[in-house]
Symmetry: C2
């Protein structure tokens, strides 16, 4: 008698169908990532699937709906497999035991001594100004704040001259509170466009008896002279757009003293794979070395379309580090600007024609442009331009 | 009365002096990394400092000697601070507690069930052919093999069609042994130039009752037709040269099925910061997204100049993934070739003149070339050429 179960080969076919049905940039592999998250953690909320699979919540919801229609995912919520699909995902027990249970795979733990300031950070989070979505503000959790402090401690960065390029989640105050435990004096500057955030940070620092330099400044404009080359560590959690990464990391490069081995902690969320590559190319163009990249290091309060997490990059300067943008930045920057999220110009390697690629453009993905070939000369080779790069002629 | 101790400001001055004295590419920050490792772990062997500071052993030894002359490091071995310098590095107790004690900060643990195959892997390591240094072979520890298996398990990769591009440390057999615990059948191909290694792997797999495809092939030549686009996962621990990274990752891109979201696990050791940037730029040029980068994930048997560790990159394919090298590779490849380790050609953006940069060349570092300006036109702007790239005219 033929088994009515769904086997691994069926799953491969279904993953391909579903990827096509929801037009998934991540392809069948993205569907398999979702299924794997469900298999390991069922029953599981869509938001948590989003986090494990590193896909936006609405995309995960659409994938799950398609999988329900194909009897792979059950109709109940939270998400779970059906009886007939479950066996296709069965693995040996030991295979589920790889992620470190102590640190949840993040490599960093928070000692009890530091947990003690958690209540105070909770109070600050309650008291602070509300997040302004038009500035892509989202506040990280208190656990994340403590973890960031311990990451800095582990890297020996707490005594560095540090600047926060944007700090709506008050990591600066978390550092100040932590150092106050042992009576150490931090050297902290916070640059933000949001005067409410700056006033709150300055006031809370005063209450704590420490000084935090606050500088009101819109980072689309070059850094004030006094901040150029003045720091050893930059912390930034910029708008999650390619333009945001390029601009904030350029300002970071300008803020650091022109020596090898200085540090940037850069929180950035995954969007589409091609955007991850674009941001990582920018890091390379900036002459910054990635020393570590920890996925899902940062958790945020409230859902957010990316399952409320972002990755943490630890970057170090080299003898090639230089900002890509030195003047004023023009054009979109925040996610809410829409276009900024993904549009990038590509230049034909042969005839130098330039074509924008991204949502809402004639070619939504570089693969589309490559397939269509250059509208001017028919070549299939293009190179991405930096957002503020003057095209080569 | 003036204290005779050395304070933080003294240390900054001394770090700059020592960096100059040993001509350290990492600058004063590299000296501070060494001192920080000593302060946290003293007394500590030079080799362990090398690992923590991510600097080669001979460099660390030279730095420690300079620090001894300046009374910052004591004359005793293993390395320790002097009484008068120790206070400059004192930090609050909680600041030393950040690295997860369960997984040593690596995020991955090995369940007891899998530890059971450790003895068998020890036996294999004893019985296998000796490492051939001319091929940059170094064998990773059994702990590392188990950790690699668990990383694959955590990422859901053990059932993928996988190929090892070079496998002198027998990670393929470790996967096969692990899966045999639960009676699962792996899909493993090993490509290597070393017939001794291949024969050993094939024989040991037979003994275990599983099949591993072994393919004798020199990766300087394009992959055999049958392997092109045939896999979902590539594992590679290539020669630690820029040329090695570019070649092996290009072959990896060719070996993977042309779909988004396939996987490369890429073990690579840090050398100079500018080489890290060069390798990471190559990853970007290949259209590969770095999903995670875990420093010092891999430990190797025997010292090695890098303190016997390397980092683990998890890369995923995107719709832009394509090999940079498709034909035969010419030129140096292994560390023993000397030049391959660091020499790279740069092209003047203005006049297209090409200049090699690296040890033994007229300009040892790109910074030197930039400072000297283009010997042909005086421009200060250069772009790195891929190793097999035909310069643009």
């Amino acid at each position: 008698m033929r088994s009515s179960g769904i086997d691994r080969r069926d799953i491969a076919v279904i993953a391909a169908e579903v990827a096509t049905a929801v037009d998934l940039a991540e392809g069948p592999a993205g569907v398999l990532d979702v299924l794997r998250a469900v298999a390991r953690h069922e029953p599981i909320a869509v938001r948590d699937v989003s986090r494990h699979a590193e896909l936006p919540v609405p995309i995960v919801a659409a994938i799950c709906n398609e999988l329900r229609r194909r009897n792979v995912v059950d109709s109940q919520r939270p998400v779970r497999l059906t009886e007939s699909s479950r066996s296709a995902f069965a693995v040996g027990g030991w295979q589920d035991g790889g992620r470190c249970p102590t640190c949840d795979g993040r490599g960093i733990v928070v000692p009890a001594e530091l947990e003690a300031i958690g209540d105070e950070l909770d109070r600050l989070a309650e008291a602070m100004p509300e997040a302004k979505v038009e500035l892509d503000q989202t506040h990280c959790t208190v656990d994340t704040k403590l973890r960031r402090v311990m990451l800095m401690a582990e890297l020996g960065l707490l005594t560095k001259r540090m600047v926060f390029l944007g700090d709506d989640d008050l990591t600066s105050l978390s550092v100040a509170h932590a150092l106050s435990l042992t009576g150490e004096t931090p050297s902290i500057t916070v640059v933000d466009v949001d005067t409410d955030v700056l006033a709150f940070i300055a006031e809370q620092a005063r209450t704590l008896g420490v000084h935090i330099d606050t500088v009101e400044h819109d980072l689309v404009k070059p850094l004030p002279e006094a901040l150029l080359g003045a720091f050893e560590l930059v912390f930034t959690d910029p708008p999650y757009t390619i333009a945001g990464a390029e601009l904030f990391l350029s300002r970071a490069a300008s803020a650091l003293a022109p020596q090898i081995g200085h540090h940037i902690l850069f929180a950035f969320g995954a969007r589409r794979p091609s955007e991850t590559v674009a941001v990582q190319r920018i890091i390379g163009e900036l002459g910054l070395a990635v020393r570590s990249l920890q996925p899902n290091f940062n958790d945020y309060v409230g859902a957010g379309i990316l399952g409320g997490t972002s990755h943490m990059y630890h970057l170090r300067t080299t003898d090639e580090t230089a900002p890509l943008i030195v003047g004023e930045h023009e054009g979109p920057l925040y996610s809410a600007d829409g276009r900024a999220a993904a549009v990038r110009r590509y230049q034909c390697v042969q005839c130098k024609h330039i074509e924008p690629v991204g949502p809402g453009e004639r070619y939504p993905r570089i693969a589309d442009l490559k397939q269509a070939t250059c509208p001017q000369c028919g070549s299939e080779k293009f190179r991405p331009l930096s957002l503020n790069e003057r095209p080569k002629r």
